[in-house]
């Protein structure tokens, strides 16, 4: 048996007004992006409690993306600024406990940026493929000895 190729699972929380629209645009423009992205549409990037990001990481995702509108363009005026603070908190906690904080990604992708959406998803999937499976996934499990 050959070793199974590592196929990452990346959970994306995409805001309804910008990043989800960009995902639609990327689809209708026939741009290719990897199937490892599992998009979840949320009304605003700030509706995502940061605990859901770490919970996704623990329950089996190798990385998470939070996608929102560009600063200043939020449909709810200030939602994405709050989301940025929350991501900063999650990343700092992960880093200071010695986890890999690049497993959480915050990206601003507006509704007209279909090509940017495809590019970011491609780049991030390549990056996670290089990093290998996530350490956080094995929190409170018996396995994952080889993961660093």
């Amino acid at each position: 048996m050959t070793e199974k190729k590592f196929d990452p699972v990346i959970v994306g929380f995409f805001c309804n007004w910008c990043t989800s629209a960009a995902a639609d645009l990327a689809g209708t423009s026939r741009l290719h992006y990897p199937a490892s992205i599992r998009p979840i549409r949320v009304m605003c990037s700030s509706t995502v409690d940061p605990v859901y990001l770490v919970r996704a990481l623990q329950e089996g995702a190798d990385a998470t993306i939070l996608g929102g509108c560009h600063p200043g363009d939020c449909h709810y005026i200030t939602g994405n600024y709050k989301a940025r603070r929350r991501v900063a908190i999650v990343k700092t906690v992960l880093k200071s406990l010695g986890f890999d904080e690049t497993r959480v990604l915050l990206e601003w992708i507006s509704g007209s940026e279909g090509p940017k959406f495809a590019r970011v998803m491609n780049e991030y999937t390549d990056y996670i493929k290089k990093r290998g499976p996530s350490d956080f996934k094995y929190l409170d499990s018996l396995g994952g000895e080889k993961v660093d």
Binding site: R84, V93, D135, K137, S141
Partner: protein, 355 residues
């Protein structure tokens, strides 16, 4: 006259002069000290304002008192410095209505672990004596040894009582409200230098922040929490965890079909149950870490003696550095309630913001 007797006289005089109508301070029980609320002059002798243990955070109790309505009587609350910082923080979170409340705080000698006190009682006078000789007692809790602000701070609370570096304890005001109160009592304000007592703690803290850090990602965290019972006592005692409904208390959030568990066990070569044990602590850090004032009650409440303050205190310190925020010492808005339009670009994108 000891500090406790002096404070009792202060309370009695306050009742006589009519500047206050109620007092919240600690009172002795068989094995410990709890908070007590008195409204009559005759009850003053039942109090021990400076107690050697801290079972509860006093700010959390003030939150309960003013939960539904502001304080209807003029209340004097005698709090430790860490409790007064919590008070300040909870006022910012709109959890305490500060109207009609006067907070008195003092140079803190530290507190003994509540369980140690039960089996090996000690007197606060002894702790105060050691403080006066410029030495942190080896009986006090870890969080007290590395306390960042063991003395009253200007603007936090209303009245301070200086004990270190002075022959007679001195009262001084920390706010305009306190100044008025002291004037009403006819007490002249004194001064004392607390820098050596603060420095002693800060040096300990510097060393502690470097040495006790939990590292190593999953392995480190799992080892640190290996004896955790998932009892959530640390959350219950935490004064910053004031939410009525907690994400981690609603267990239906973690309800799954049995196949989900089997699939996880397949994928991860076996899982430990319940699955949210370590996630609870990481989640709590994310929610309250930016406002951790360092009372160390999480550690005291842990039935398995996990040194939890090393987790919440050190990671909380990192978080507070990111936002340049010190909880409970000034009027800055807590990071989770505020934002700037131009900040934190290093957390955007994969490699720090650049396109």
């Amino acid at each position: 006259m000891t500090e406790n007797e002096m404070l009792k006289k202060f309370i009695r005089d306050g009742f006589e002069k009519g500047v206050k109508e109620a007092v919240m301070a600690r009172s002795e029980t068989k094995d410990s000290y709890t908070y007590a609320l008195i409204t009559k002059k005759e009850d003053v002798d039942k109090l021990t304002p400076i107690a050697p243990v801290m079972q509860w955070n006093g700010a959390d109790i003030l939150r309960r008192i003013t939960k539904l309505k502001k304080s209807e009587r003029k209340l004097l609350a005698i709090l430790r410095p860490c409790e007064s910082r919590t008070y300040k923080e909870l006022v910012k979170f709109n959890q305490i209505n500060p109207e009609n409340i006067i907070v008195l705080t003092y140079d803190c000698p530290g507190t003994v672990h509540a369980r140690n006190y039960k089996y090996e009682p000690t007197e606060s006078e002894k702790l105060i004596e050691e403080m006066k000789s410029g030495k942190i007692s080896n009986k006090v809790r870890e969080s007290c040894r590395v306390c960042e602000y063991p003395t009253p701070i200007k603007g936090v609370g209303d009245i301070g009582l200086g004990i270190v570096n002075t022959t007679e304890p001195v009262f001084f005001s920390l706010s305009d409200k306190g100044k008025e109160f002291l004037a009403g009592m006819g007490i002249s304000e004194g001064e004392r230098d607390d820098s050596s007592w603060v420095k002693l703690h800060r040096d300990n803290r510097e060393k502690w922040l470097k040495e006790e850090r939990i590292t190593g990602g999953r392995k480190g965290l799992e080892e640190f929490l290996s004896s955790c019972l998932n009892c959530h006592n640390c959350k219950d005692m935490c004064p910053i965890c004031f939410c009525k409904e907690c994400f981690f208390e609603d267990h239906s959030v973690f309800d799954y079909e049995s196949n989900k568990f089997y699939n996880w066990a397949d994928d991860k070569d076996g899982i430990r149950l319940p699955t949210d044990k370590s996630l609870f602590h990481v989640g709590r850090l994310i929610h309250m870490g930016t406002s951790c004032i360092g009372c160390g009650l999480c550690q005291q409440a842990c039935p398995m003696d996990i040194p939890l303050y090393r987790l919440f205190g050190i990671v909380g310190n990192d978080l507070q550095k990111v936002f340049n925020y010190k909880p409970g010492v000034n009027d800055d808005i807590p990071p989770v309630m505020d934002f700037r339009e131009d900040e934190l670009h290093e957390f955007e994108g994969l490699f720090g913001g650049e396109e």
